[in-house]
Point group: D2
């Protein structure tokens, strides 16, 4: 059994990660940290876990490093920089949930996150943990930068076509809608039930920090320097991200052809489901699972040529965070890639 | 007191219209029809109305025509064609909630609604009932085609700029998100609580019937033949439409300048609120009111030049249907334009 | 126009009170205070109010006392004690939303609220502001203690029968279910969307502070010293309280007879609707209105004699707080009792 | 691998059962029937199941009987009577989700369900499938009557104490609150999103069909003829039942003693969690799992002696239906009792 530790485990991603790991056949969780809740049983903080004996402990890296072989870091960006460096330096494997090691270009990171990066030399050691793009490199690496939730939804939606010559890669617009768990577990006025319920709104227009992450991976895939428009929205539901993506075509291409490109691209992927022609993804159909559902449509009417419309749906806490981390772990350690992730989405 | 009748009043728009009219200072409701519920007290069908004596009656146009001066028709498209012609022909005033008299071009109507239009000669008598565009014509007309909910949200968002030379009017993308009441009150599997709750999905991509209606009015405003992309989504909430609209600029224009254009355009409008720089509309802030909140943003990063991002929010049953109809009535009869519509949005 | 001021107006009850007063025909709001938001436009804090010029100000009682004739105090309990005494002492009228002047027995107050009452001499000046019980006394008083939301729902449900000889007044069980706005607007972990949504739970079993308030009024009505069981629950919705109330009968009495007692009791009440036999109240049917819907049922099967089951529904922010306060104001000043409260419940 | 078939599998319980069985280590699903959807891939009807090849088939019992050893019957009551008899007569094992074989007294069944029971001789062969009460008999039986959702929640809440001498078993009141999936998947006006959302209501007061089922098991446990009051409510959420149960005590007994009785009673139960003193169950903490959370409280104030207040929470589709059926199957076949049911509740 692989010994794993979760650092900063008292948020929603930590809760979900713990849940997945507790039923994983090849793994034993040896430590979970939380500064706020140090000393408390996990089941006092997360009342869903009433039948576990785990206790939150304070983050003492010197003692933690002896307890596990793989460390899941669910710390805020910036705080994660040094913690990653420590465990990596100690010869341990790390899956980092923060943005600290996702952005390859240090200056880009420093600009969008308004903070210096003190471990720039490690950026090239980190692999962006999206198996559908980087599976081979994940196998051999010791440091996985686990993708953001919006980027996972957006990149998987665009990956099959972004490098195609019929795509105008300067025209990408991503309109994303997210459930509220993506905003985290810290109390905040705007996240209270009575503020979120019965409402939808956009936020962070033109300046959401997931933008450069999406651009980096799409640029990598296409060989072009992609800049795009990304607009997130807050939806009155716990979980789920639906991304509606618009890209103009440089030249006419049939929808069937594009659908075939998607099917071929994801043919062997255990967690990406390309839907039949005309079928719409809904976040409910992936809730509670590691699936990403994708469907593509073609607009031939509007004034400026044909436009591809891609819709993708994920559970932001699973394929968009903790399930993806488990998938990455499975790949790193040679476990069955779907181990611990086999549950179908419950419905309703 | 103006005598008014509501035909086809057992849906959600009818319920809301009745509520607004019952507290309107200048109006008396003399009849409400429903085939399904004929003979039943309104309060048996709509349990919110437990203190009214109104009863639903069957739609006998010969007897109804004598009961009122103004007829609100909340019938399905196609069914409304003849009913409108009847009351109009009898010298009555009509506000029609259906799409039957919204589309000026008969062929366009027949193509999108897959049905012939048997009263094409009346199309030019009808005024598209968006006061912000057609107030003067509404004053003098006898037949108002009350706009659709998505079109109201979309057109108000674009009206101030669509005719500007700095706008690329071939590039319009409207990504709309609607509460569930917009889908009507007839039982359907996909509208059940357990299907809608905790989920978001897109639907009718490239083929929603509100598309030609939006295009007609924007073409009228801009003097260009506009074809655009419109994508509706279903959100787990009762009411509200948020439209996120993307339009590329032909040439650079400052955000402050654009904001000024919006403020000037809506300066005297009682129900359109242009928000301060950086403030986001949310459907909750207009819920239960006739307001339309609009905010504009400018993307200067993405690959193909600057893009204007407009966000608009309405209550789909009020500004998107029944409140708008009351506003049109107020204009037609010279009542205070805000009569019966003065309530602020309740919150939460 | 009556000049009114709202003190402590930045919570949900304050928001709703302001909304109702802004459309009240006989009233002008001259001041709204908030320590947290002093100096900010009301529309920055409550984005629903984007078309008002009011600003929050700090609570300086010396300057406030000159600005209005009637003061609505929406302060926390204990903080309200002295503020009420100040305005009352200055010859002003006061409607107090806190619990400070609701409980006539000072020791009972001090025990349940764990705080001394420093203005005990004013307790007998205060009238418990439930018009259905105390209308005549409200007319002539200067200090109204505005009831709590759960008590309003519970007392109105029981008032018609609690004094009847066929009722076992020792057997009252009130099982109440409340929307989340009742818990207030201050950020708290347990009130975040992701904690409340898709869940129901009980809380404060046997120790909720509204218990002695309900007992006081039912004791007053029945002439007996009533102690009862009150169990509140938190429901994933913004507004509404549904109370399901169980009382055993001392002797058999027909349901029709009991229904007649309810109808007679509330015959002239503008805001209490006794439903037809077999019809169920739902919070949605009173949402956004000052109505209280009541229906009664009779269990003849269970082991210990017949049991009366009463179900009542209110909007906790209107009939349970701000609407009730406006109704009290209307009575105190001789306005039409329904002024500003005529809107039917919107649906859905 | 045990071969199992699901009959009537196109409802919410069928969907959840299929999900659980598809990830069960010892089982293979060989057939799923649905008259409405016969011939369709399961994934067309339940879009969560996009990666299964199963197709719905019509219910031909002659061909079905050869396909499996265990039959899960998710048919409506009455329809299930004959189907159960057929498979049972053919020597197969059956787990029946309907009420047809739950009520031992044929006359009681016929009265509450308004239909004759044509297979009364089989009633004594059926075991009421609540393992916490009847584990030993389930092991050896061929026909399990799977309990209703409300009864599971209610009986587990009362089982440890109902037979105690300090309990007044004539005083039981069960106030239950259920998510909407319990009402089934057939389209109905009152189950549409806009009717259920933002509302709570009671229904079927004094006449819900789960009443005799609860009474039967509590009578069996206590050796008394128990008649009780059961009031169900509809809550705006997908899943979950919270039951708040009131029982008077005949003589004073300490809360600690009662808590000890609960802990002892459920000490070896894998799925019942008795919470610590003062901790409240919430349906969210059991959602997606087979757990039943129970907490007990004691009221010493109210007028008629001490009252025990018990709160229990389950996921109505899992512990209240499909998970319970899987648990019963595990017991019948000697599988690990928790097989296929090990997942912790996801949160949020």
């Amino acid at each position: 059994m692989l010994k794993v530790a979760i650092l900063g485990g008292s948020g929603y991603a930590g809760n979900e990660l713990l849940r997945l790991l507790l039923s994983h056949p090849d793994v034993k969780v040896t430590a979970v940290t939380s500064e706020r809740s140090a000393g408390l049983p996990v089941s006092d903080v997360f009342q869903n876990f009433r039948n576990t004996d785990l206790k939150f402990e304070s983050m003492n890296v010197e003692s933690l490093v002896k307890k596990a072989d793989l460390f899941f870091l669910c710390l805020p960006h910036k705080a994660s920089q040094e913690a990653v460096a420590f465990f990596y330096g100690a010869g341990k494997k790390v899956i980092d949930f923060s943005a600290d090691y996702r952005i390859k270009n240090r200056k880009t990171y420093e600009k969008w996150y308004s903070t210096p990066h003190s471990f720039g030399h490690l950026l090239k050691k980190a692999v962006y943990g999206l198996p559908e793009l980087h599976r081979e490199r994940i196998k051999d690496c010791s440091l996985v930068a686990n993708p953001g939730c919006y980027p996972t939804s957006s990149i998987l939606g665009l990956a099959p076509v972004i490098g195609e010559s019929f795509i105008d890669s300067t025209s990408v617009i991503i309109d994303s809608k997210s459930g509220t768990s993506g905003a985290g577990r810290n109390p905040a006025q705007q996240l209270m039930f009575c503020e979120v319920n019965e409402s939808i709104k956009a936020y962070s227009i033109t300046m959401h920090r997931h933008t450069p992450e999406i651009e980096q991976e799409l640029s990598f895939l296409s060989g072009r320097n992609i800049k795009l428009i990304f607009t997130p929205h807050l939806v009155p539901m716990d979980r789920g991200i639906l991304s509606t993506i618009y890209v103009r075509l440089n030249k006419k291409t049939g929808l069937r052809n594009i659908q075939k490109i998607y099917r071929d691209y994801y043919r062997n992927e255990p967690f990406v489901r390309v839907l039949n022609n005309g079928v719409y993804p809904a976040t409910k159909h992936v809730r509670g699972s590691n699936f990403c559902d994708i469907s593509v449509f073609l607009d031939k009417r509007a004034g400026n040529g044909h436009t591809l419309i891609i819709v993708s749906a994920i559970d932001n806490l699973i394929k968009g965070a903790s399930g993806l981390a488990v998938q990455n772990m499975n790949i790193m350690y040679g476990f069955e890639e779907t181990a611990g992730l086999t549950s179908s989405p419950p419905s309703p």
